[in-house]
Symmetry: C2
Subunit: 451 residues, 2 copies
């Protein structure tokens, strides 16, 4: 008997019937998720951790949690990096017929270049293996990582996983072979003029070099130019810089469990966003999934057996200090976290949920998802949650993520296109209803036993 089917008869913690179908109908009819997103993006379109926009976003999140009726609303302080993009991001090539510019943005966390830029020859590679094989050619050059996300893969997240190491680790690998800068093809299956940012990493004992993302059309054009003139020189200019850490905070609110208030089901998303778009899908959608899910449960007077703790993390994109700070502050409570869920894959049509649970535990949970499956979002697949909650895994907390239609996500992800109009109000509302319904399941000890 599922959580939902049992509502009438069982000695349930639910005080009123609220089937997933009712949650869906309410979410679609009220259309609050998109209205909330519109508010957030008006208040704080730019909200990189440590920025003034993030301060406004946090204030909005506190007020919205209070408005929907969450309890114990608070900000839990964390220190976050403060990286500032600056004003200059330019990549120019000297071609036989004159200069040409390409659309680029600094990768998040990159150091800047000297004011007059870095000029060098170029080595184009498609993989780290190729870079290492051609290490002797790289010295003193700009390495151009031009590996495309493989289009043929059905799942764009797998395609992302294939190509994204060149963004995260490219500056390290290029520096190791003596390169002076890195240019990285943007992470998207689309061919267009929008560069996509995202975090890069540096490594202790490996010299830091600046790195920028080039649009996919730009990457194609640059590759063509290099094919006809391998001695072409590029000049990269960036004025981004990292400053001292600053205070920021995770925003937290709760629905106290009616039967097992000490057992916690965490429902999270990240409030920060890259600064070249408005973070509508990444992760504004996740933020309003959580807030609207809370509203839906409260409007329907659902009282879960366990405590639902909603957490909007401060710093997922560049540092993961939100998740780490949460884990540190709540270390003593970790044994009582029976589940942690994060929504951070965009505001598209929900399909179901990913989880770190083993096959046996999945099989036990899946029977409770029949009513969700009937609505199109009941799949339960092996996988992780979001990056923020990944830091809870060492404590043995089972992780869950929202799985949504993924075809369009990387068109927008980390780019200037990630704006309100990219999010469809019905798809967003359905996602919020799916989160609400799933939280009700996770909060039910019959569906998910204690660890």
């Amino acid at each position: 008997v599922s959580t939902f089917l049992a509502l009438g008869a069982a000695p349930s913690a639910w005080t009123q019937a609220a089937t997933p179908e009712q949650l869906v109908a309410r979410a679609l009819a009220d259309n609050r998720a998109h209205a909330m997103l519109s508010e957030l993006l008006a208040v704080a379109p730019k909200r990189l951790a440590g920025s003034p926009g993030m301060d406004r976003a946090r204030a909005w999140a506190v007020a919205t949690m209070q408005a929907v009726g969450l309890q114990k609303v608070r900000v839990e302080e964390v220190q976050v990096p403060r990286w500032v993009r600056g004003e200059v991001a330019s990549l120019r090539a000297s071609l036989p017929d004159g200069e040409r510019g390409y659309d680029v943005v600094a990768l998040g966390g990159s150091i800047g270049t000297p004011a007059d830029g870095i000029s060098a020859d170029v080595l184009e590679v498609k993989s780290f293996e190729e870079l290492r094989a051609r290490a002797t050619e790289a010295k003193g050059k700009i390495v151009f990582f031009n590996r495309a996300m493989p289009r043929a893969l059905r799942n764009t997240f797998l395609a992302y996983r294939d190509a994204v190491p060149q963004r995260g680790q490219g500056a390290i690998e290029a520096s190791k072979v003596g390169a002076v800068a890195a240019i990285v093809r943007s992470m998207t299956t689309a061919l267009d003029d929008y560069p996509h940012t995202g975090a890069l990493h540096y490594e202790a004992n490996v010299g830091k070099i600046p790195a920028a993302a080039i649009s996919t059309n730009g990457a194609q054009a640059l590759a063509a130019a290099l094919a006809s003139d391998p001695s072409l020189r590029l000049t990269l200019r960036l004025d981004c810089a990292t400053h001292e850490d600053v205070a920021c905070g995770n925003v937290v609110g709760e629905i106290t469990g009616a039967e097992r208030p000490d057992e916690i089901v965490l429902c999270g998303a990240h409030l920060d966003a890259w600064d070249i778009g408005d973070g509508a899908h990444d992760d504004g959608a996740g933020v309003v999934h959580c807030l609207e899910a809370a509203r839906l449960l409260l409007v329907h007077k659902v009282r879960p057996a366990r405590t639902l703790r909603f957490v909007l993390f401060a710093n997922e994109e560049n540092g993961l200090r939100g998740g780490r700070g949460y884990a540190a502050a709540h270390e003593g409570e970790m044994a009582r976290h029976v589940a942690a869920f994060e929504t951070d894959s965009g505001g598209f049509e929900p399909k179901g949920f990913s989880t770190t649970l083993d096959e046996k535990a999945r099989a036990a949970l899946v029977s409770h998802l029949d009513p969700l499956r009937a609505l199109g979002f009941g799949a339960l697949i092996e996988g992780g949650g979001g990056a923020d909650i990944s830091v809870l895994q060492p404590f043995g907390v089972p992780l869950f993520g929202l799985v949504v239609a993924d075809h369009r996500y990387f068109d927008f992800h980390h780019s200037a296109r990630d704006t309100l109009d990219a999010v469809h109000e019905r798809e967003l509302a359905l996602g919020a209803a799916a989160v609400a319904a799933f939280m009700a399941v996770l909060a039910d000890p019959a569906a998910l036993p204690e660890k």
Copy 2:
């Protein structure tokens, strides 16, 4: 054992392994479906049946069928209505603070108004029941059908079904109670300024009155104006007109069955489109689903046991003469049509298939869809095919339709927004792969026995 899993071992009509996964990978990598759609919309953005654009679309379809390698490519002539929209579509209200205009378009098939328009008082209703109850108020007035598609329904096609009778039958019902014209709220769940056209019907012995669709924002504004001034007068001007029938044609091509060439599986879509957008989703997407499915099967050297007959119908939107003409021309073959499939729900992510088969026959077929289900488009639900093939149902032909994600469809359907940029290349490619895989199943006698 399914069609696909058996490819290696079974005495199959397939000459080469082509798993659904391979079809998907090929469709995504080649990205031909969107390129085809781009071609069609460049050649014939406007292609209402009987228009010069339709002649160009037909020539393109013939050439494309030949290019992908279909056999017996031909045009089968049908006569179609020729309705011409004209240049004028205006709705103006006399308000206390002056005149105000609303965004309207003529409904397809509507008669025009006198050149200086029809001016009358307004009766707003939400249903035919309300209209009949208030019949005495309707005489001499313009009836304003302002029933919204119910937002709370999970399935937008059900919401459409709830509201669309006011568009199809509104002019008849309004005329019966003595009204002089009808204004119909557009069929969309979105609130915007785009009016959506679509066919209206007239009835013998009921006087024809002109009818236009108003945008949803316009409908809201008009309702508000009426609430504050019930005596406001509207003036409707339309210069559309119906002319003599003209010759048009269904475009047909085949992959001849390797084992049972006389048994036919029809794979269809409609080539005509409403004329205020470019018919990108409706039904350009369906057209390229069919053409790209044919290409995928031929590229992979799949040889189905039964004949696959691809039919691009001439006239779905206003008259259904394409389907009717096909049924008349092929009446003697109807017993050999083992299945008819149509894709006419937009170029969104495929979910599965609808069918008129009874529960027992569905259960037999569903086991052959496991590899499709693994790719996300293996659902088999009760339902019909498209309008074109509905005329084959009286002959006992089982009907099938493509089921796709439906949240966005009515944002575009029959409106000026139905353009190329509304169709996502990956979703369109997946749809084509789904059609190819499903045609392979239907052409397999082990999966679908003869009728």
